[in-house]
């Protein structure tokens, strides 16, 4: 597609349920990033993929969070046993993966945990 696509755009779930967030990067982009943006705060780095390898998972807040990527395509971020503090906008970005360069962001998934 023309840009980074994220789905769903909004997700409301009950505490304790699992959720899966999807990101379709721009075709040809080898690097893919997940960030979390809590209300009124900056972007918190979660994880980075180069191809389907994740060299840095240090930003994942807990073992309830996991992510995977199929080749240089779709990525899914899974949150198990959701907690209210997981409520945030989850942003995905992609780039050509040649070092520090422009990130192309999706519109995000607004996750609300009740």
């Amino acid at each position: 597609g023309a840009g980074v696509s994220q789905s769903p755009s909004n997700k409301v779930t009950e505490k304790g349920k699992d959720v899966e967030l999807r990101c379709d990067p721009i075709s040809g982009h080898t690097a893919l990033y997940w960030y979390r943006q809590r209300l009124g705060q900056g972007l918190e780095f979660l994880i980075y993929f180069q191809g389907n390898s994740a060299p840095d998972k240090s930003g994942l807040p807990s073992d309830r969070f996991s992510a995977e990527r199929t080749g240089e395509s779709v990525s899914t971020l899974t949150i198990q046993r959701t907690q209210q503090e997981d409520s945030a906008v989850y942003l995905c970005a992609s780039s050509f993966g040649q070092g520090q360069e422009k990130l192309f962001f999706g519109s995000g998934t607004q996750l609300s945990v009740l």
Binding site: G3, Y33, K102, S107
Partner: protein, 113 residues
């Protein structure tokens, strides 16, 4: 570790007035510096970036930023603000040869008529 500080949570300026948004970073080597804008209902968009060379960087929408190593700053400026500039602005720093980009907490810009 890298860090980015945006001292102003929000700023209000009159349409047509000049604008300066502050950004200070912490990084041991030469940083890669970015400014992104997040408009209501839209994704983040890159305004400009600094990697090396001329310390005054021109970006889109009439924005510019100046890298000052002695002050560890990368402030964003615009000579005349338009109502459509109302948005949230994020300063970010990346490491040379690395991949992680660290973002500041953001500054929300309000523009009054």
């Amino acid at each position: 570790a890298q860090s980015v500080t945006q001292p102003d949570i929000h700023i209000t300026v009159s349409e047509g007035a000049s604008l300066e948004l502050r950004c200070n970073y912490s990084y041991g080597a030469t940083p890669y510096l970015f400014w992104y804008v997040q408009s209501p209902g839209q994704g983040l968009q890159l305004l400009l970036k600094y990697f090396s060379g001329d310390t005054l960087v021109q970006g889109i929408k009439g924005f510019e930023a100046e890298f000052k190593r002695s002050q560890s700053s990368f402030n964003l400026r615009k000579p005349s603000v338009h109502w459509s500039d109302a948005a949230e602005y994020f300063c970010a720093v990346g490491e040379e040869g690395g991949f992680k980009t660290i973002f500041g907490a953001g500054t929300r810009l309000f523009v009054k008529a």
